[in-house]
Amino acid sequence: MADDPVSVTVNGEPRQVAMSATIADLVAAMSTAGSGIAVAVNDEVVPRGRWPSRRLHDRDRVEILTAVQGG
């Protein structure tokens, strides 16, 4: 039960993650860059210091952004 998957949206794509998964796990799966990344869950920024403890809940909308060429 503890590791039943939860359904979340990550950067606009549906995704199943383990219930024990944290933001830190998700970021590690999405990017190898150690810095320059920010995360919002349900339109609220989650500071980097809280990534290891913040678990994902069903229907969370996660945005993981970085800097690219632009402007």
Binding site: N11, A38, E63, A67
Partner: protein, 258 residues
């Protein structure tokens, strides 16, 4: 011109040319152009991470000691722009934001109502806000009164290369502003950048004119020199325009014939 810095929110910049990074065909070409431009402040956009991405524009900027200025490009509402700015602050560790809230894809013109709303929220949240705005003196004044650290009117639509379509409005904005005025968007070639500075703008922000030029690094150098030349011309004070000629050689003492 080391004694004539651009001061933005208390920070001094010896280059008055702010560069964008969009449109460059590759990071190596971008890097050479940024170095040739002499810029000390350069914009980046915030986008979803791409797991396949390797090499970052941030590495290029940090390698040359260029300060990063995140933007909110692609945002259509104040809410989108505020969240993007907050993400940029978290990702890049800067509370500076080039605020861009556009109205539609075809013109990329700023939406002044959403822009003012976003600026107010971000200033309340402790951001140093540098707003990309229309060449409308009234909106520029509103943005300054809200506490924006500069106003950045467009010369013409982003990427159009049409230059400064309404120099009179830029003149009015320069005249009324107590914060720096940065001409942002529409620059096509070096003379456009020089004109912006001659009009009294404190700086120029451009990307496409360099990154999409046939030779980006060479155009970057042209822009660096144009901004410096325009600044010098502005400080020196141009002569008034006259309807008829005015001889510069003395009338007296000419040789006579016959």
């Amino acid at each position: 011109m080391a004694d004539d810095p651009l001061v933005l929110a208390g920070e001094r910049f010896h280059s008055r040319l702010i560069m964008g990074t969009g449109g460059a065909p590759g990071l190596d070409i971008l890097e050479r152009a940024l170095v040739a431009s002499g810029t000390e402040l350069t914009t980046v956009a915030m986008r979803r991470v791409d797991p396949r991405m390797h090499g970052s524009v941030l590495d290029v900027l940090s390698a040359h000691g260029i300060r990063v200025l995140p933007n909110t490009a692609g945002c259509y509402t104040a809410a989108e722009a505020v969240l993007t700015a907050q993400l940029a602050r978290e990702a890049l560790g800067t509370n500076w934001i080039k605020l861009e809230v556009i109205a539609d894809e075809r013109t990329l013109l700023p939406d002044p109502l959403e822009l003012v709303d976003a600026a107010e929220q971000l200033i309340d949240d402790g951001f140093v806000v540098l707003p990309y705005t229309n060449d409308d003196p009234v909106v520029a004044r509103r943005l300054e009164r809200l506490g924006c650290a500069a106003v950045m009117p467009l010369g013409s639509p982003i990427g159009s290369g049409l230059g400064i379509r309404n120099p009179h409005n830029i003149d009015l904005i320069v005249e009324q502003s107590q914060v720096p005025v940065i001409l942002d968007a529409g620059i096509g070639t070096a003379s456009d950048a020089a004109l912006a500075m001659e009009l009294g703008c404190d700086g120029v922000l451009l990307a496409s004119a360099v990154t999409r030029a046939r030779e980006p690094a060479r155009m970057a150098e042209a822009m660096r020199r144009a901004v410096q030349a325009g600044r010098l011309a502005h400080l020196a004070g141009r002569i008034p325009r006259r309807w008829y000629a005015q001889a510069s050689s003395p009338r007296d003492g000419r040789a006579t014939v016959g």
